[in-house]
Symmetry: C2
Subunit: 325 residues, 2 copies
């Protein structure tokens, strides 16, 4: 009853922003992401009948508190689904995600955990079933089951059984680049879940956000099919700005942006003014990821590294989905 | 046929953002402003029957081009209204508005022009009639007819005769302060009219903006009546953020903010975190104005002057409406 899985993180180009069901983690809108090869989590799960509780090691540290609670609650779902509520797990996770890069480790983390745990406990889930399971640990993690460009279909059913990711092209369809700008100063902590909830509950712009998604998805999927970088980049950037605009209309208003965030956005616009197709996207935090084409590697790196407040730039390519080690 | 008038500029706390009629300058929503004593325009208009065209001097320079066209088009309206299409005017305007402060000189400019021109041509307009006339030169200028806190009622009539400002309290009701942070670098030019139109025509958040105004107005007017600074400041700041959020959802998206804009917003939030009630507001440009109470003068000035990119800080108090010199 032991398995090891590796999962990569992903970056949303059309954002997941708002839940319709908190417990099952069902989203208000479809989202679309690119799985990234540079950032992954490798997790080994072994179930023992002699354990009386789960044990969770992250990067060799024994974890307690909230992070442990989230893992053990998720393993409860796995045990229930497998009909094996009599076993507990020893979980070893190693994050190959530089946390300073501001890339969500929960996406790769829960994706690897779901894959390893379900296999270790003896379930044979296909990727779609695995995505449904993974979603219940961390919403955006359900997209990391697949490589490349992936859509998370929100689904319609109340039980969430049709809310899962699907790949929209083969994982190796298109070689683009994503640079994560690492900030010098410690990013201030703003809880993404809290901000999302406040926005859904109080922002007068939130309903328009939800209504705007289908058109974005149609356009960006066409752009991905035809490898139209300008179309994909401009839709992703506009979608990101629209998502962040909803927080400015929350009550009280707030923003995830910091002044360095703003400088990076300006630098990306400067790149475009000088003829380099580059586009930014920002999740529920201050960090900025920049999309560009392989041939502009040097120009983009140079520009991003020249920004006051940017300490490092980490580049990623499109990555693969879940694999078992 | 000669008259001189002085008008002060004003800063909107509930923004005028979007026209329902371009020619008559009729707004989509009511707005609310504070007239400022520190920034004014003094204009002398003299009509001569020997002139064959208007002549316009601004700060002793003879003006031609677009600015001249706007003035002479406005004087056409004055002549038509007065039934004196046979006379042309010599206009001398002096702006006591530091243009670097990013405070709209068109508000004080068209307000002073409307007052001086209508008096010089022999019309005796009351302030409400003057506000209707002024609005046709520059929308927000119609609020500068009155001192202190002023509401611009959008009106319902197609001819615009009920779209004018009204004072909501006596001009000397409440002594608060407004600091304009002057930026070191030249502000990049973004046309406010163009941005406003693009937002009205393409932003999916624009209808929600219009719907959100009545609630803001009720709350801020209560706050002004009761001199509740926190209420007034927080509504003004939220309204400004909501207005700027509409531009992020335009197609293509854009922003009037620059990185210094963002630094000043952060500094104002810092002031609040340290117990100083200060709030920002931003018009269709990068400049930031900060509202605070007289007793916090030193702290606010010190904080704003410490920001990289801020060259000067210009403080204003509530000002009077139109006066004739």
């Amino acid at each position: 009853m032991k398995a090891t899985a590796r999962a990569h993180t992903n970056i949303a180009l059309i954002k997941y922003w708002g839940k319709r069901d908190r417990s099952l983690i069902l989203p208000m809108n479809n989202s679309l992401s690119l799985t990234l090869d540079g950032f992954y989590t490798e997790t080994t799960v072994e179930f023992h009948d002699y354990l009386t509780a789960d044990v969770f090691y992250l990067n060799n540290d024994c974890i307690t508190g909230k992070a442990y609670q989230r893992v053990t609650s998720f393993l409860d779902r796995v045990r229930e689904k497998a009909g094996r509520t009599d076993v507990y797990a020893e979980v070893h996770s190693v994050n190959h995600v530089p946390t300073a890069a501001g890339l969500a480790s929960s996406a790769s983390g829960f994706s690897a955990l779901a894959a390893a745990a379900s296999k270790a406990i003896g379930m044979q889930l296909n990727n779609q079933e695995l995505s449904v399971l993974t979603r219940q640990g961390s919403g955006s993690a359900c997209r990391s089951v697949y490589g490349g460009f992936v859509e998370w279909e929100k689904g319609l059913k109340e039980d969430g059984s049709d809310s899962h990711a699907i790949p929209i092209v083969p994982a190796n369809h298109w070689d683009i680049r994503v640079a994560a700008a690492v900030m010098s100063s410690d990013a201030k902590k703003i809880l993404s879940r809290e901000g999302m909830e406040r926005t859904v509950n109080t922002s007068s712009f939130y309903p328009s956000w939800v209504e705007s998604i289908p058109a974005d998805l149609i356009t960006i999927k066409k752009g991905i099919m035809h490898k139209d970088f300008e179309k994909v980049g401009s839709i992703a950037e506009a979608n990101c700005l629209r998502m962040h605009a909803t927080t400015l209309a929350a009550h009280p208003p707030f923003t995830y942006w910091q002044s360095t965030t703003f400088l990076i956005m300006e630098a990306v616009r400067d790149l475009r003014s000088s003829g380099v197709p580059a586009y930014f996207t920002i999740d529920a935090g201050p960090n900025v990821k920049v999309l560009y084409l392989p041939e502009d590697e040097e120009t983009v790196q140079h520009k991003l590294r020249s920004i006051a407040g940017v300490r490092d730039v980490i580049v990623s390519k499109p990555g693969q989905g879940i694999s078992y080690v």
